[in-house]
């Protein structure tokens, strides 16, 4: 008897699915007569339970990615909670601040870096760098450096790095392919209709190989993108996010939907409308307007802005206009894949920056400029960043 013979026997399957006294007696008797069949029968049972009836088509890649999403979402939620705790207990914050400064003075003594007691401090750490990933069908391709993806009308993608073509990939239609740009990296994607997307650090974009008739749709799962949409009156362009959709009427705009800040859309030119998922009302937006979405109340709010400071990242610089230090550091964190620790400090965070910062590959230059613009001091000791008041 082979285990497949058991599986081929409806009486066996019936006994396995819903045993009763009668069937129990039958199969026990059979085993008593033929103890040598026991191992094959056990194999049939474990196959039926763990394989046949436990269909699982979650790929390794999906499983890995899902865990990654869970972990980053948890960290963000915890951070939110922590900030609240700090705000609630001023005494605890003060104690912590003193402790940290003490250690700081002690450890940096060798580096000839003097500091006044009671100095306020922000520290930063460089994080391990991750690869850019292009996922299509069951395939995932990793890139260590920023990429430019160009889709053609046949649905295949040419990938270049610094103007050199490195790879051509056939793009799957279902499920949608995704481009994952981790913190510290950027990429661009030219879609099949000629629309061009700039993806900022920490973004995931889902896209089809080509657009069908009647509609063009992409989905920004998280992060920030700037898009210049190719004009096509017959096929409206839709950008979906988890909270709302953007309908485009030939245009360019910036959209940011990071988990740790309110999602926002800034329109550069043309016209677009926003619509919440599950709602009917649309909100029209005009150039030089910024709309942010408050997930807790489910409402949009509109303000007039200077668009340059929202889209300059795509050209490799930050344009700041009384930008709060925390906001600036958040952008630097994403862009260079760092982690700043500024929970214990209040006054340094209140500082604002005005001016332009060129986002060069040399982090020291960038941080020195920030120090200059915000009247702070910057030191980099063994890849650990210290920002103190001047």
């Amino acid at each position: 008897m082979r285990y497949t013979d058991f599986l081929n026997d409806p009486r066996f399957i019936r006994w396995q699915l819903i045993p009763d006294e009668e069937t129990n007696r039958y199969w026990e008797e059979l085993l008593r007569q033929h103890p040598e069949w026991k191992s094959e029968m056990d194999e049939a049972i474990s196959y039926l339970k763990q394989k046949a009836m436990s269909r699982n088509d979650l790929s390794d890649l999906e499983r890995e990615w899902l865990l990654h999403s869970i972990q980053s979402a948890s960290v963000q939620q915890k951070r939110k909670k922590q900030r609240l705790i700090y705000r609630l207990s001023a005494a605890a914050a003060l104690l912590l601040l003193l402790t940290v400064t003490g250690i700081y003075l002690f450890t940096t003594d060798k580096n000839n870096f003097t500091s006044i007691p009671g100095t306020e401090l922000i520290t930063g750490e460089m994080l391990q760098s991750k690869d850019i990933r292009l996922i299509t069908g069951q395939e995932a391709i990793n890139f260590q450096e920023d990429i430019e993806v160009l889709l053609n009308e046949a649905g295949s993608a040419a990938i270049t790095q610094q103007n050199k073509e490195v790879k051509t990939v056939e793009i799957n239609r279902t499920p949608l392919s995704s481009l994952i740009v981790p913190y510290g990296k950027r990429s661009t994607l030219t879609l099949a209709d000629g629309s061009k997307v700039w993806l900022n650090s920490g973004s995931i974009l889902e896209f089809p190989p080509t657009f069908r008739e009647g509609k063009r749709e992409i989905r920004l799962l998280t992060g920030e993108m700037y898009i210049e949409v190719a004009h096509d009156r017959k096929r409206p362009f839709l950008v979906h996010t988890s909270d709302f959709g953007v309908r485009v009427y030939g245009t360019s705009f910036n959209i940011a939907t990071y988990g740790d800040a309110a999602p926002e859309v800034v329109l550069v030119e043309g016209s677009i409308s926003l619509k919440q998922t599950d709602r009917k009302e649309e909100m029209m937006i005009h150039p030089n307007e910024r709309v942010s979405f408050d997930p807790s109340t489910g409402s949009f709010s509109k303000t007039a802005v200077n668009v340059d400071s929202y889209i300059s990242w795509k050209d490799g610089y930050l344009s700041l206009d009384k930008t709060p230090m925390t906001e600036l550091l958040k952008r630097i964190e994403r862009y260079y894949n760092l982690s700043f620790n500024y929970d214990q400090d209040v006054n340094l965070q209140k500082r604002t920056c005005t001016g332009k910062i060129f986002l060069s590959d040399n982090l020291d230059n960038v941080m020195t400029t920030i120090a200059l613009l915000s009247s702070t001091r910057y030191e980099n000791v063994n890849n650990r960043i210290y920002i103190t008041n001047d």
Binding site: N8, D9, Y26, R55, Q71
Partner: protein, 197 residues
């Protein structure tokens, strides 16, 4: 700080241990794979940010199954306004489909097809709820009180559903079994292999 790190590891190992079963259960309940993944994410994020430690939750796997089902139903209810009234009234019984996977059985294609058809036929004789109970009891090895909890029915109601399912299978297959027993005993005494049917 160190404790935090340990807890992350706990989360990852708990995730790796149960994510397949959770995903399968969600899919069998008739949800799209993306919705199931979203719901799994919500369940784990909630656990990792709540105060209670993972190790403090008793019957962890059951807790995860229950949380996943609740979350999926929340998502289902959110979408409900899009459905027609008709569909709403019949939702008393949510679908439950078991997708068989026997592609890797090392036997002739014809035999494989036969096995698949036979098991599929047997499962199709059951109602959605009965199928869900069989899956939870047989594959996941839950106790009746846990199954009743997952299906939101009484333990008694659960047992009744099982006996009805048994009744149904008896009607369909039982007679053959009864007839086979005498032949089987004869063949056994002859030391022969009983015929497959």
């Amino acid at each position: 700080m160190k404790k935090e790190v340990n807890r992350e590891n706990d989360l990852a190992s708990v995730y790796n241990r149960y994510v397949n079963d959770l995903f399968t259960y969600g899919c069998y309940l008739g949800f799209e794979r993306e919705s199931v993944k979203d719901a799994i994410q919500d369940v784990f994020v909630k656990i990792s940010t709540s105060k209670s430690n993972l190790t403090e939750i008793s019957h962890l796997k059951f807790y995860l199954f229950k949380s996943l089902k609740n979350r999926l139903y929340d998502l289902y209810r959110q979408k409900k306004d899009h459905l027609v009234l008709d569909e709403l009234t019949t939702n008393a019984e949510m679908p439950f489909h078991i997708d068989l996977n026997i592609e890797d059985l090392l036997i002739e294609e014809e035999e494989r097809l036969h096995i698949r058809n036979e098991i599929t036929k047997m499962l199709s004789l059951l109602t959605h709820r009965q199928r869900e109970i069989v899956y939870l009891r047989y594959v996941q090895e839950y106790e009746y009180h846990q199954i009743a909890d997952l299906l939101d029915i009484s333990v008694n109601g659960c047992r009744k559903l099982v006996s009805k399912a048994l009744q149904k299978l008896r009607e369909e297959y039982g007679d053959r079994l009864a007839l086979l027993i005498p032949t089987l005993l004869v063949t056994l005494t002859n030391g022969q292999i009983p015929p497959n049917c």
